[in-house]
Assembly symmetry: C3
Amino acid sequence: MSWRRQSILSANQFSLGDLNEILSLSVKLENDLKRSRNLKLLDDYVLATMFFEPSTRTRLSFEAAMHRLGGRVISTVGVQFSSLAKGETLFDTLKMLESYSDICAIRHSVEGASSLAARSIKIPVINAGDGAGEHPTQGLLDLYTIHRRGYLEKPHLTVAFVGDIKYGRTIHSLVQLLSHFKVNLVFISPKELALPEKYRELLNSAGVNYSETEDIAALREAHVGYITRIQEERFIDHREYEKFKDAYVVDTDLVGQCRKDLIVMHPLPRLSEVSTDLDSHPSAVYFEQANNGLYVRMALILGLLDISYP
Amino acid sequence: MSWRRQSILSANQFSLGDLNEILSLSVKLENDLKRSRNLKLLDDYVLATMFFEPSTRTRLSFEAAMHRLGGRVISTVGVQFSSLAKGETLFDTLKMLESYSDICAIRHSVEGASSLAARSIKIPVINAGDGAGEHPTQGLLDLYTIHRRGYLEKPHLTVAFVGDIKYGRTIHSLVQLLSHFKVNLVFISPKELALPEKYRELLNSAGVNYSETEDIAALREAHVGYITRIQEERFIDHREYEKFKDAYVVDTDLVGQCRKDLIVMHPLPRLSEVSTDLDSHPSAVYFEQANNGLYVRMALILGLLDISYP
Amino acid sequence: MSWRRQSILSANQFSLGDLNEILSLSVKLENDLKRSRNLKLLDDYVLATMFFEPSTRTRLSFEAAMHRLGGRVISTVGVQFSSLAKGETLFDTLKMLESYSDICAIRHSVEGASSLAARSIKIPVINAGDGAGEHPTQGLLDLYTIHRRGYLEKPHLTVAFVGDIKYGRTIHSLVQLLSHFKVNLVFISPKELALPEKYRELLNSAGVNYSETEDIAALREAHVGYITRIQEERFIDHREYEKFKDAYVVDTDLVGQCRKDLIVMHPLPRLSEVSTDLDSHPSAVYFEQANNGLYVRMALILGLLDISYP
């Protein structure tokens, strides 16, 4: 079953064929946008962005993607959901979207909210982040960023994940997607924030080579460094937090000790874990990565609406 | 004076001719939307949705209606009204809409806000709910739902209203609209929440047959059951509330004791007064009813802008 | 260097030639809008309105301007900025706009925020108000209002500013713009709220004739009265505030003592400093002034995107 005309709920729903199709469609769209800022494909379509918790970057990325395709948008963010405050169920709130819109992107603080939505309504649903669950479109734009740089073709590509490997939902999504490719993965985190057993099993059964360490020095071997934030509240022992908070800062010094072709990624927002002195360094691709969300989400919207392109 | 080019402020402003015109235009739009999701009639027009209190379903319904007609939307919800916080009058806030937009929909917690707006600005105003006042577009979509099912043509059509008949503004709007048709009305409510004298007089002078009861069993005679929520704070005696809260739950059991052709309506949001076990029952039309808001609001926007169709 | 293709950050960036070009383009757009409500010039362009603090009138004016030009809008207001709450820098938040949009308007409570934005991203930035800093598009629409009435051609044009001359950022912007024209300026304010030294120097070096007084009677000589609100918290001595609060109310009585061709302007929101009894008086132009924001912002958007018109 193709990814087209479906909902996008989890990174685990894609086959290698799906991923290659999404990547090449995204490349095509990125290139075509250089010729025209509005591809005029979706004049008849309405996207609903239902962000039960705010996420400006993700929401605007979806909305810009729809506009660049020539489509239309209706939108709701956080505090505007009055009916939920009155006790209405999520099911009832979303049911109306069926006739008001042709596709919807949903962000919710509760894991599984998007799946519930997809079961409730007859239009395609895109999971734009559901609590501790998944954020599959972020995983896809991360994969696209690696692909766009030509790194998926690198022999022995090594991707290092740094920071909160345990709770980082964007890491979980990207790990699942990368398991379809020939990669080595390195997980660099405090023991408290190590890779959940579930993903170890997934990598083992997919035959993916990976290693785990607390030592940031392991970043030196990587072609891709995917950095995430470590949150203080994850630690019982405050001194442990302080130790890693200082050790896991990626700056020009550290990058200078790494491979020359290292690219540094971050799902944003970033705090101090990636130093701003790196922003103008050739290794820094995190802003490019955020921009890539536009092309990937355009590809996804086209695919879910089953619009053939070109 | 036709309803066209006017503002829509109250259910009492429509003649039978107006209602028939709105109903048939809505049917036409619903059918035409099956062929094209964008009717491309309003490329030159801007709708302003000014929701001084949030109402996601109603707002998105207006915005989707404008988009499906090919128009454009500017929007403000609740907390974004900074000037009002600074002490600006509603008149000053709305005055700008004259040049920024061609039509506006206003939701406000204060009764009469829409009428003030209509007197203040030179473009058509649609009352999208004003406190304890009216919600005429909800009344019209409710009427459309009954019409769409072919029930307005039923001989001896009986419509039962259940719940908070006293404060339910959607009931008040629909009662006024139904008074133009040959119907029997049954009002089922606790005595504390009975029909206001004003509407009794209206029905008497319109020659509409109606009865009032506390007993939910009266639903058995009805072709249409219009259910609303009972709020605890309306009761002085808490035990009274408890009694009716349990008695007035419409579920498959109760519906099984009713007419086979009963349709159950609800303006939403619903809490426990309509059981979710009814959602997939053929009698349940409340989600269809919410969707109908799209077609009726499309018809109203077209009419107020005096766009002839087809 | 022309104003075209730049960012708009301060009223001081414009030459007399720039201002004349903006004024005549705005007049042309206002006239053409009478023939068509959508000029269909910007189908390929997206405007981002990033309002870190709400300002409904200014935001909707920008969004309506974009829609009337045939463009598209993505929008964020106040509480929706979740990432900033998480500690993200403004730079990181804005960086994404580069690919999501073609031009952006930014409102922020901190002076200099727009300049930071313009240095951060490669698309044109419009300062839509930055704290105690500037509000250049308000200054331009104020200038346009004076021009549209034909007053810039009046010999010995006298413009009186009333109220909070010290902190009123819209006054500071307009004073800078007017310094390019042959005008007399009168500043009427309590001593505590007198013109900052910086602007005295600007007017002296531009050779502009001006005077300062506490006496509202000076309004009698003016062709233009630009009224602003006095805020209680600006005064150490509460009795001083009470004195001026009552003295500086512009109503039909006071206007009756003034020149017959006086026009009364106000940047809105207004409280009691302009009496509502003046609203229907021929001197009152403040609602016309607010509406003029549409045409001026259309002109600015066109110019910054370097779209030739007609």
